[in-house]
Protein backbone atom coordinates (compact mmCIF):
# COMPACT_ATOMS: atom_id res chain seq x y z
CA UNK A 1 0.00 0.00 0.00
CA UNK A 2 1.41 3.37 -0.98
CA UNK A 3 1.52 6.25 1.49
CA UNK A 4 -1.22 8.83 1.18
CA UNK A 5 0.21 12.29 0.51
CA UNK A 6 -1.34 15.67 -0.21
CA UNK A 7 0.26 15.58 -3.66
CA UNK A 8 -1.43 12.30 -4.54
CA UNK A 9 -4.76 13.67 -3.31
CA UNK A 10 -4.30 16.83 -5.36
CA UNK A 11 -3.47 14.79 -8.46
CA UNK A 12 -6.67 12.79 -8.00
CA UNK A 13 -8.68 16.00 -7.66
CA UNK A 14 -7.34 17.20 -11.01
CA UNK A 15 -9.82 14.74 -12.55
CA UNK A 16 -12.88 16.06 -10.70
CA UNK A 17 -14.68 18.56 -12.89
CA UNK A 18 -17.44 21.05 -12.32
CA UNK A 19 -20.60 19.42 -13.74
CA UNK A 20 -21.27 22.53 -15.81
CA UNK A 21 -17.72 23.24 -16.99
CA UNK A 22 -14.83 21.11 -18.23
CA UNK A 23 -12.54 22.56 -15.57
CA UNK A 24 -11.27 20.66 -12.55
CA UNK A 25 -11.82 21.76 -8.96
CA UNK A 26 -8.05 22.31 -8.75
CA UNK A 27 -7.93 24.59 -11.81
CA UNK A 28 -10.96 26.47 -10.55
CA UNK A 29 -9.05 27.22 -7.37
CA UNK A 30 -11.65 25.63 -5.12
CA UNK A 31 -9.26 23.47 -3.07
CA UNK A 32 -8.15 25.41 -0.01
CA UNK A 33 -6.29 22.76 1.92
CA UNK A 34 -5.59 19.05 2.15
CA UNK A 35 -4.95 17.41 5.54
CA UNK A 36 -3.62 13.90 5.62
CA UNK A 37 -3.61 11.92 8.83
CA UNK A 38 -2.54 8.37 8.02
CA UNK A 39 -5.35 7.14 5.78
CA UNK A 40 -7.77 9.87 6.80
CA UNK A 41 -7.99 12.77 4.36
CA UNK A 42 -9.82 16.05 4.84
CA UNK A 43 -10.18 18.30 1.82
CA UNK A 44 -11.09 21.90 2.57
CA UNK A 45 -12.88 23.57 -0.28
CA UNK A 46 -14.86 26.63 -1.22
CA UNK A 47 -17.17 27.28 -4.17
CA UNK A 48 -17.31 29.90 -6.88
CA UNK A 49 -20.67 31.16 -5.64
CA UNK A 50 -23.12 30.14 -2.94
CA UNK A 51 -25.83 30.38 -5.59
CA UNK A 52 -24.22 27.48 -7.46
CA UNK A 53 -26.46 24.42 -7.29
CA UNK A 54 -23.49 22.18 -7.88
CA UNK A 55 -22.00 22.19 -4.37
CA UNK A 56 -23.47 18.88 -3.26
CA UNK A 57 -22.54 17.06 -6.43
CA UNK A 58 -18.99 18.44 -6.29
CA UNK A 59 -18.54 17.50 -2.64
CA UNK A 60 -19.70 13.97 -3.42
CA UNK A 61 -17.39 13.73 -6.43
CA UNK A 62 -14.40 15.00 -4.45
CA UNK A 63 -15.06 12.60 -1.59
CA UNK A 64 -15.45 9.71 -4.05
CA UNK A 65 -12.24 10.54 -5.94
CA UNK A 66 -10.23 10.80 -2.72
CA UNK A 67 -11.88 7.71 -1.24
CA UNK A 68 -10.89 5.69 -4.30
CA UNK A 69 -7.18 6.36 -3.73
CA UNK A 70 -5.11 3.44 -2.61
CA UNK A 71 -4.49 3.73 1.15
CA UNK A 72 -7.28 6.16 1.95
CA UNK A 73 -9.52 4.92 4.76
CA UNK A 74 -11.70 8.01 5.23
CA UNK A 75 -12.36 10.98 2.95
CA UNK A 76 -13.99 14.10 4.31
CA UNK A 77 -14.88 17.33 2.54
CA UNK A 78 -15.12 20.50 4.60
CA UNK A 79 -16.66 23.64 3.10
CA UNK A 80 -14.76 26.69 4.32
CA UNK A 81 -16.86 29.58 2.93
CA UNK A 82 -13.82 31.50 1.80
CA UNK A 83 -14.37 34.06 -0.94
CA UNK A 84 -13.61 33.06 -4.53
CA UNK A 85 -12.60 35.27 -7.44
CA UNK A 86 -11.21 34.85 -10.94
CA UNK A 87 -7.76 35.41 -9.49
CA UNK A 88 -8.08 31.94 -7.92
CA UNK A 89 -8.14 30.22 -11.33
CA UNK A 90 -4.96 28.49 -12.45
CA UNK A 91 -3.56 29.48 -15.86
CA UNK A 92 -4.96 26.26 -17.27
CA UNK A 93 -8.40 27.01 -15.80
CA UNK A 94 -8.36 30.54 -17.16
CA UNK A 95 -7.45 29.26 -20.61
CA UNK A 96 -10.36 26.81 -20.76
CA UNK A 97 -12.90 29.28 -19.44
CA UNK A 98 -11.74 31.92 -21.87
CA UNK A 99 -12.16 29.47 -24.72
CA UNK A 100 -15.75 28.92 -23.60
CA UNK A 101 -16.22 32.68 -23.27
CA UNK A 102 -17.20 32.30 -19.62
CA UNK A 103 -14.64 34.76 -18.25
Amino acid sequence: MSAVTADRVRAALADVCDPELPVSVVDLGLIRGIDVDGGAVTVRMTFTSIACPCTEVLKEDVAAAVGALDGVTAALVEEVFEPWSRADLTDEGRLILRALAVV
Binding site: S49, I50, A51, C52, P53, T55, F81, E82, P83
Partner: protein, 255 residues
Amino acid sequence: MSDGGAQRGLVNLLVVLADNKWSLGRHLSEWAVGAPVLETGVATAAIAQGHMGQARVLYPLLEELGSTLGSADERTRRYQVAALDHPFPTWAHVVAALLAVDGALNSLLLSLRGSSHEQLARRVGRMLEEERFQRDFAEGRVHELSAFPPGTAQLQAALDAVLPEMLCWFGPAGEEGVAALAAAGLLDGDGDRWRQRYLDRVGPVLLEIGVDLPARRAGSTWEIDDLPWDRWNPLQRRLASPSPAPGAALPTSSA
Protein backbone atom coordinates in the same frame (compact mmCIF):
# COMPACT_ATOMS: atom_id res chain seq x y z
CA MET B 1 -19.45 31.61 23.67
CA SER B 2 -19.98 32.29 27.35
CA ASP B 3 -23.44 33.80 27.33
CA GLY B 4 -26.01 31.02 26.86
CA GLY B 5 -28.86 33.51 26.50
CA ALA B 6 -27.11 35.34 23.72
CA GLN B 7 -26.37 32.08 21.96
CA ARG B 8 -30.03 31.06 22.09
CA GLY B 9 -30.99 34.47 20.77
CA LEU B 10 -28.48 34.08 17.98
CA VAL B 11 -29.81 30.67 17.01
CA ASN B 12 -33.35 32.02 16.88
CA LEU B 13 -32.31 34.95 14.75
CA LEU B 14 -30.40 32.74 12.34
CA VAL B 15 -33.28 30.28 11.98
CA VAL B 16 -35.55 33.17 11.14
CA LEU B 17 -33.08 34.59 8.62
CA ALA B 18 -32.44 31.22 7.00
CA ASP B 19 -36.11 30.24 6.79
CA ASN B 20 -37.10 33.58 5.33
CA LYS B 21 -34.34 33.37 2.72
CA TRP B 22 -35.31 29.80 1.92
CA SER B 23 -39.00 30.56 1.44
CA LEU B 24 -38.26 33.71 -0.50
CA GLY B 25 -36.02 31.73 -2.87
CA ARG B 26 -38.58 29.01 -3.23
CA HIS B 27 -41.48 31.35 -4.03
CA LEU B 28 -39.31 33.44 -6.35
CA SER B 29 -38.23 30.38 -8.31
CA GLU B 30 -41.88 29.66 -9.11
CA TRP B 31 -42.00 33.02 -10.90
CA ALA B 32 -38.98 32.33 -13.10
CA VAL B 33 -41.82 31.08 -15.28
CA GLY B 34 -44.37 33.87 -15.56
CA ALA B 35 -42.25 36.99 -15.22
CA PRO B 36 -43.65 39.62 -17.60
CA VAL B 37 -40.37 39.82 -19.58
CA LEU B 38 -38.31 36.77 -20.60
CA GLU B 39 -34.93 38.23 -19.58
CA THR B 40 -36.42 38.97 -16.18
CA GLY B 41 -37.48 35.35 -15.89
CA VAL B 42 -33.90 34.24 -16.51
CA ALA B 43 -32.62 36.62 -13.83
CA THR B 44 -35.39 35.60 -11.41
CA ALA B 45 -34.19 32.01 -11.62
CA ALA B 46 -30.65 33.14 -10.85
CA ILE B 47 -31.77 35.36 -7.96
CA ALA B 48 -33.88 32.56 -6.51
CA GLN B 49 -30.86 30.25 -6.49
CA GLY B 50 -28.94 32.96 -4.67
CA HIS B 51 -31.53 33.13 -1.90
CA MET B 52 -31.71 29.39 -1.48
CA GLY B 53 -27.92 29.30 -1.49
CA GLN B 54 -27.83 31.88 1.29
CA ALA B 55 -30.15 29.74 3.39
CA ARG B 56 -27.97 26.73 2.68
CA VAL B 57 -24.97 28.56 4.10
CA LEU B 58 -26.73 29.12 7.43
CA TYR B 59 -28.31 25.75 8.19
CA PRO B 60 -25.06 23.83 8.87
CA LEU B 61 -23.94 26.63 11.20
CA LEU B 62 -27.18 26.30 13.16
CA GLU B 63 -26.41 22.66 13.67
CA GLU B 64 -22.94 23.57 14.94
CA LEU B 65 -24.57 25.98 17.36
CA GLY B 66 -26.63 23.12 18.77
CA SER B 67 -29.92 23.69 17.01
CA THR B 68 -31.82 20.50 16.21
CA LEU B 69 -34.36 22.18 13.96
CA GLY B 70 -32.65 21.15 10.74
CA SER B 71 -33.17 22.93 7.44
CA ALA B 72 -36.46 24.22 6.08
CA ASP B 73 -36.90 21.32 3.68
CA GLU B 74 -36.85 18.88 6.61
CA ARG B 75 -39.84 20.38 8.45
CA THR B 76 -43.34 21.60 7.73
CA ARG B 77 -43.22 24.64 10.02
CA ARG B 78 -41.10 27.53 8.86
CA TYR B 79 -40.20 30.60 10.84
CA GLN B 80 -40.96 33.16 8.22
CA VAL B 81 -42.92 36.37 7.84
CA ALA B 82 -46.61 36.11 6.94
CA ALA B 83 -45.77 37.69 3.56
CA LEU B 84 -43.99 34.43 2.63
CA ASP B 85 -46.66 31.99 3.81
CA HIS B 86 -48.14 31.48 0.36
CA PRO B 87 -46.95 31.51 -3.24
CA PHE B 88 -46.96 35.05 -4.64
CA PRO B 89 -50.32 35.56 -6.38
CA THR B 90 -49.11 38.28 -8.75
CA TRP B 91 -45.87 39.57 -10.21
CA ALA B 92 -46.38 42.75 -8.17
CA HIS B 93 -46.19 40.60 -5.02
CA VAL B 94 -42.90 39.21 -6.30
CA VAL B 95 -41.49 42.70 -6.74
CA ALA B 96 -42.81 43.77 -3.33
CA ALA B 97 -41.05 40.82 -1.69
CA LEU B 98 -37.82 41.37 -3.61
CA LEU B 99 -37.63 44.92 -2.37
CA ALA B 100 -39.38 44.97 0.99
CA VAL B 101 -38.83 41.48 2.42
CA ASP B 102 -35.35 40.90 1.11
CA GLY B 103 -34.35 44.47 1.83
CA ALA B 104 -35.11 43.80 5.49
CA LEU B 105 -33.31 40.45 5.53
CA ASN B 106 -30.23 41.94 3.93
CA SER B 107 -30.27 44.94 6.27
CA LEU B 108 -30.03 42.60 9.20
CA LEU B 109 -27.38 40.48 7.52
CA LEU B 110 -25.28 43.60 7.09
CA SER B 111 -25.38 44.10 10.84
CA LEU B 112 -23.97 40.59 11.34
CA ARG B 113 -21.01 41.20 9.05
CA GLY B 114 -18.69 42.19 11.91
CA SER B 115 -20.02 39.58 14.33
CA SER B 116 -17.67 38.45 17.08
CA HIS B 117 -18.69 34.92 16.11
CA GLU B 118 -15.97 34.34 13.58
CA GLN B 119 -17.62 31.43 11.77
CA LEU B 120 -20.82 33.42 11.42
CA ALA B 121 -19.03 36.53 10.19
CA ARG B 122 -17.27 34.45 7.51
CA ARG B 123 -20.49 32.89 6.30
CA VAL B 124 -22.34 36.19 6.33
CA GLY B 125 -19.49 37.60 4.26
CA ARG B 126 -20.18 34.97 1.61
CA MET B 127 -23.93 35.52 1.82
CA LEU B 128 -23.47 39.23 1.29
CA GLU B 129 -21.65 38.60 -2.00
CA GLU B 130 -25.17 38.26 -3.41
CA GLU B 131 -26.45 41.42 -1.77
CA ARG B 132 -25.50 44.01 -4.38
CA PHE B 133 -26.96 41.90 -7.18
CA GLN B 134 -30.16 41.29 -5.18
CA ARG B 135 -30.61 44.96 -4.40
CA ASP B 136 -29.98 46.13 -7.97
CA PHE B 137 -32.33 43.46 -9.28
CA ALA B 138 -35.10 44.50 -6.88
CA GLU B 139 -34.81 48.18 -7.78
CA GLY B 140 -34.68 47.31 -11.48
CA ARG B 141 -37.90 45.32 -11.12
CA VAL B 142 -39.63 48.21 -9.34
CA HIS B 143 -38.87 50.45 -12.30
CA GLU B 144 -39.79 47.78 -14.83
CA LEU B 145 -43.12 47.22 -13.07
CA SER B 146 -43.94 50.92 -12.87
CA ALA B 147 -43.55 51.14 -16.65
CA PHE B 148 -46.71 49.01 -17.03
CA PRO B 149 -49.76 51.26 -16.53
CA PRO B 150 -51.30 49.32 -13.61
CA GLY B 151 -47.92 48.38 -12.17
CA THR B 152 -47.53 51.05 -9.51
CA ALA B 153 -51.05 50.58 -8.14
CA GLN B 154 -50.52 46.82 -7.96
CA LEU B 155 -47.21 47.28 -6.21
CA GLN B 156 -48.81 49.70 -3.74
CA ALA B 157 -51.48 47.13 -2.88
CA ALA B 158 -48.88 44.41 -2.34
CA LEU B 159 -46.64 46.69 -0.28
CA ASP B 160 -49.51 47.84 1.95
CA ALA B 161 -49.58 44.30 3.32
CA VAL B 162 -45.82 43.77 3.43
CA LEU B 163 -44.22 47.00 4.65
CA PRO B 164 -45.85 47.20 8.12
CA GLU B 165 -44.82 43.62 8.83
CA MET B 166 -41.25 44.20 7.72
CA LEU B 167 -41.01 47.38 9.79
CA CYS B 168 -42.13 45.36 12.82
CA TRP B 169 -39.72 42.61 11.83
CA PHE B 170 -36.75 44.50 13.28
CA GLY B 171 -38.42 44.21 16.69
CA PRO B 172 -39.76 46.77 19.13
CA ALA B 173 -37.45 49.46 20.44
CA GLY B 174 -35.17 48.20 23.17
CA GLU B 175 -35.90 44.50 22.57
CA GLU B 176 -34.03 42.61 25.28
CA GLY B 177 -32.75 39.73 23.19
CA VAL B 178 -31.30 42.07 20.60
CA ALA B 179 -29.58 44.14 23.28
CA ALA B 180 -27.97 40.96 24.66
CA LEU B 181 -26.72 40.01 21.18
CA ALA B 182 -25.31 43.49 20.65
CA ALA B 183 -23.65 43.47 24.07
CA ALA B 184 -21.95 40.19 23.18
CA GLY B 185 -20.67 41.78 19.96
CA LEU B 186 -22.65 39.28 17.89
CA LEU B 187 -24.42 41.96 15.92
CA ASP B 188 -24.49 45.66 15.54
CA GLY B 189 -27.49 47.96 16.07
CA ASP B 190 -31.01 47.77 17.43
CA GLY B 191 -34.58 47.74 16.14
CA ASP B 192 -34.97 51.47 15.75
CA ARG B 193 -31.67 51.96 13.98
CA TRP B 194 -32.35 49.03 11.63
CA ARG B 195 -35.78 50.42 10.81
CA GLN B 196 -34.25 53.75 9.85
CA ARG B 197 -31.56 52.14 7.75
CA TYR B 198 -34.17 49.93 6.10
CA LEU B 199 -36.26 52.94 5.10
CA ASP B 200 -33.14 54.63 3.77
CA ARG B 201 -32.69 51.58 1.62
CA VAL B 202 -36.20 50.93 0.27
CA GLY B 203 -37.82 54.34 0.67
CA PRO B 204 -36.23 56.42 -2.10
CA VAL B 205 -36.93 54.04 -4.99
CA LEU B 206 -40.57 53.71 -3.91
CA LEU B 207 -41.10 57.42 -3.47
CA GLU B 208 -39.56 57.93 -6.88
CA ILE B 209 -42.35 55.99 -8.59
CA GLY B 210 -45.04 57.51 -6.38
CA VAL B 211 -45.75 54.76 -3.86
CA ASP B 212 -47.12 55.86 -0.46
CA LEU B 213 -45.09 54.66 2.51
CA PRO B 214 -46.21 54.18 6.11
CA ALA B 215 -43.47 56.68 7.00
CA ARG B 216 -42.28 60.11 5.93
CA ARG B 217 -39.03 61.95 5.94
CA ALA B 218 -38.38 64.30 8.87
CA GLY B 219 -34.98 65.82 8.35
CA SER B 220 -32.43 63.06 8.17
CA THR B 221 -34.71 60.46 9.79
CA TRP B 222 -37.99 58.78 9.04
CA GLU B 223 -41.13 59.31 11.06
CA ILE B 224 -42.94 56.00 11.07
CA ASP B 225 -46.73 55.50 11.35
CA ASP B 226 -48.14 53.38 14.15
CA LEU B 227 -47.15 49.78 13.53
CA PRO B 228 -49.44 46.79 14.19
CA TRP B 229 -47.60 45.65 17.33
CA ASP B 230 -50.83 44.05 18.64
CA ARG B 231 -50.44 41.40 15.96
CA TRP B 232 -46.67 41.03 16.39
CA ASN B 233 -45.39 37.62 17.48
CA PRO B 234 -41.87 38.20 18.87
CA LEU B 235 -40.96 34.52 19.08
CA GLN B 236 -41.87 33.69 15.50
CA ARG B 237 -40.81 37.16 14.35
CA ARG B 238 -43.90 37.70 12.22
CA LEU B 239 -47.35 39.17 12.26
CA ALA B 240 -50.17 36.83 13.23
CA SER B 241 -51.72 35.64 9.99
CA PRO B 242 -55.31 36.69 9.30
CA SER B 243 -56.32 33.04 9.66
CA PRO B 244 -54.01 31.78 12.38
CA ALA B 245 -52.47 28.40 11.82
CA PRO B 246 -51.99 26.16 14.88
CA GLY B 247 -49.34 28.21 16.57
CA ALA B 248 -45.98 26.90 17.51
CA ALA B 249 -43.47 29.23 19.06
CA LEU B 250 -39.92 29.10 17.85
CA PRO B 251 -38.13 26.91 20.38
CA THR B 252 -36.25 29.24 22.67
CA SER B 253 -33.82 26.57 23.72
CA SER B 254 -32.23 23.80 21.80
CA ALA B 255 -31.42 21.90 24.99
